[in-house]
């Protein structure tokens, strides 16, 4: 019997109702929720999630490149039953700084230049969120993305070290120091990159400028340090030169406070007193970047 009138029933089920406009009476979650949404959207965007396939390629590739050496080191350590990992946790990011530079140079402009270029910014500010919400969400998202990129290989190293049954206490301490170091690095690098990227709506300029500031400054500083080392061997001069590039700043801070061995020529990093200056400069740069971003977007308005 049920088969007799299938068409009539189907027609009943598939009838289209024009329900007209429906008002929204549900909750409106306000500023904090909007800020969180912008944060998660930007963080996902930094790895190309929720964007086109093309924009996933570079960040994912760099993530793999970043983690591959750690996997190899772990494999070697486990296979050869080494006493310690071939590289310190704190050294890893310094060694891989070119990859980090490339990542941040590609993702910082992606995060902010698009909104400026396509004039989407006014749409944000015509909603409950304010300048500070936008800047904090974008800054936090990029810093988190960079932290994921730099902390993931450290995690690989740590897990590998435990698998290789290396000394637990020593490894944990090193891992913790490494995490503090890359957290500081993430904040510093993303702050500087965002300020540069937010200055221009052109993505290409942003990428070039970020690479220039991060890697050329490092190249210049380490070259001058090497020359100074060869010429005079004045350790203090070498240390103070290190203040002028983001990479050497992080290197200096972790040498002074996080038990890292410096990559400065001559191997003599900053002392504790000099380290305080390094730390203050790093914190100053982070705060300064935030301030400049706030100023940049206060003017953006509608």
């Amino acid at each position: 019997m049920a088969v007799e009138q299938p068409t009539a029933r189907a027609a009943e089920q598939t009838r289209i109702h024009n329900i007209g406009y429906r008002a929204y009476d549900g909750p409106r979650l306000g500023r904090a929720y909007a800020r969180r949404s912008l944060y998660s959207q930007s963080l996902r965007g930094a790895y190309g999630l929720g964007r086109s396939v093309k924009s996933k390629v570079l960040p994912m590739l760099l993530f793999v490149v970043m983690c591959a050496p750690a996997l190899i080191m772990v494999a070697v350590a486990v296979a050869t039953k080494a006493k310690d990992l071939p590289v310190d946790y704190t050294r890893y990011a310094i060694i891989m700084q070119a990859v980090i530079g490339l990542y941040i140079a590609s993702q910082a402009p992606q995060s902010v230049s698009r909104d400026l270029r396509f004039k989407t910014v006014p749409l944000y500010f015509s909603r409950p969120i304010e300048t500070a919400d936008y800047v904090r969400a974008k800054y936090a998202a990029l810093a988190s993305a960079l932290f994921i990129l730099t902390a993931a290989p450290l995690l690989v190293l740590y897990v590998g070290a435990l698998l290789a049954k290396l000394d637990f206490g020593h490894q944990t301490k090193g891992f913790a120091e490494g995490l503090v170091s890359v957290a500081l690095l993430s904040l510093l690098f993303s702050g500087i990159s965002l300020v540069i990227a937010a200055a221009t709506p052109r993505r290409g300029f942003g990428i070039a400028a970020v690479i220039a500031v991060l890697t050329i400054s490092y190249g210049a500083v380490s070259t001058i340090q090497a020359i100074a080392d060869a010429q005079s061997g004045n350790p203090a001069a070498i240390v103070w030169m290190g203040l002028f590039s983001p990479v050497t700043l992080i290197d200096g801070v972790q040498t002074a406070f996080l038990g890292a061995s410096s990559s400065f020529p001559g191997g003599g990093g900053p002392s504790a007193a000099q380290g305080v200056v390094y730390l203050l400069v790093v914190l100053g740069l982070i705060a300064g970047s935030y301030g400049l971003l706030m100023r940049r977007y206060r003017k953006a308005g509608l």
Binding site: A23, P27, L29, R31, L38, S52, Y124
Partner: protein, 369 residues
């Protein structure tokens, strides 16, 4: 129109006095829209003022964008007309609470713009004049994101996005990247992002910019529906008075930051129904335009050649007195054996209508008899 919400609005509007009390938040938009419950509240008429400004001024170092502007706007579709640089966009910025006024005060939905900017922006939608859409995401993704920025939970944001895009007339194409859209479709996405959080009021800044005549008419129809079907009050800016008089219940004209005129649309239509006609020439009538003018004059209708306006010399302007004017033109042109190239309601540029006074224009265009 008599019993429609627009009629109600107009009635309320005429009674309206300067607002003194805060907006009654128990009054939902649906009630404002004209259901019976609203009538109870309407006894205190100031409850229904959507926007109120009081000698609002905005001065920049070199220009005065707004000069002691006092205007009240009720529910419905309100047109804000002014030439470029008349202060329209500045006014919207102030009303959104994004730019402090130099002096004076303003309220939107009963909330003070100086202190309650956040609350206002939660209840208000904004469609900017310029392009504001990223080309590499789909309309759906973009509008969902904007809905969340307005505080809608993820599930509600998706549902409202689907609804709103359908209402503005975007169907399958909403899954394609915005970069491939036509100007008309982009304008619809811009409108959708302003409506997605179901605001009580939307500011539409030059929504017909860059559209062809058909797209313009569709957009104007859509704007009309935003109020009649969705119950959302609209403040729409334009530099063309003609297109607003067909869409709006009320028109506010600003010039140089000053209020020039604020009145219901009916007052405008009486003075601005001007027809422009253009005819062909034939061997019999080498100057067709002149022939029509003489024929019309013989029937007691004087015309104007529109000197000083674009197309002068080829067109005739006359005031439409009603249906019979159209018939008269048709008959005159047919009798002369000419071809009627166009006959259209003249879209007035604001400067043209308000050059000095209405009288001057009437004199220029000329009345029958």
């Amino acid at each position: 129109m008599g019993t429609t919400p627009a009629g109600l609005t107009a009635r309320l509007f005429d009674l309206r006095v300067t607002p003194t009390g805060p907006y009654d938040w128990r009054l939902t938009r649906r009630q404002l829209f004209g259901l019976t419950t609203a009538v109870v509240h309407v006894t205190t008429v100031d409850d229904v003022t959507v926007i109120a400004t009081e000698s609002l001024s905005k001065r920049f170092p070199r220009v005065t964008a707004l000069d002691r502007l006092s205007v009240d706007v009720g529910p419905g579709v309100t047109g804000l007309v002014g030439a470029n640089g008349a202060g329209k966009s500045t006014l919207i910025k102030i009303l959104l609470g994004l730019s402090p006024a130099t002096e004076g005060r303003a309220e939107v939905l009963g909330l003070d713009v100086a202190t309650k900017g956040g609350a206002i922006r939660e209840r208000v939608g904004y469609m900017p004049e310029h392009d504001c859409l990223p080309p590499d995401v789909s309309a759906t993704e973009f509008v969902v994101h904007m809905a969340r920025m307005s505080g809608l939970p993820p599930a509600a944001a998706r549902e409202r996005t689907a609804d709103t895009l359908r209402h503005v007339g975007l169907y399958e194409e909403r899954y394609r990247p915005i970069g491939g859209y036509s100007t008309g479709m982009k304008q619809r996405v811009k409108l959708a992002q302003a409506l997605v959080h179901d605001p009580q009021l939307v500011f539409l800044d030059e929504p017909t910019n860059g559209l062809d005549p058909v797209g313009r008419d569709e957009m104007l129809g859509l704007i009309r529906r935003v109020y009649t079907d969705f119950g959302i009050s609209v403040l729409v800016t334009s530099h063309l008075l003609g297109e607003l008089e067909r869409t709006c219940d009320h028109v506010v004209v600003v010039d140089g930051g000053k209020l020039l005129r604020s009145s219901s649309t009916r007052d405008f239509t009486q003075t601005t129904t001007t027809l422009a006609i253009e005819v062909t020439d034939t061997d019999e009538h080498p100057d067709g335009t002149r022939a029509v003018r003489d024929a019309l004059l013989a029937r007691g209708v004087s015309t104007h050649d529109g000197s000083g306006l674009p197309g002068a010399g080829h067109i005739l302007l006359l005031t439409a007195e009603g249906e019979q004017t159209y018939d008269l033109i048709r008959d005159v042109v047919a009798d002369l054996g000419l071809g009627l190239v166009r006959m259209e309601q003249r879209r007035h540029h604001i400067a043209e209508v308000f050059k000095d006074s209405d009288d001057q224009r009437k004199e220029a265009v000329g009345h029958g008899g």
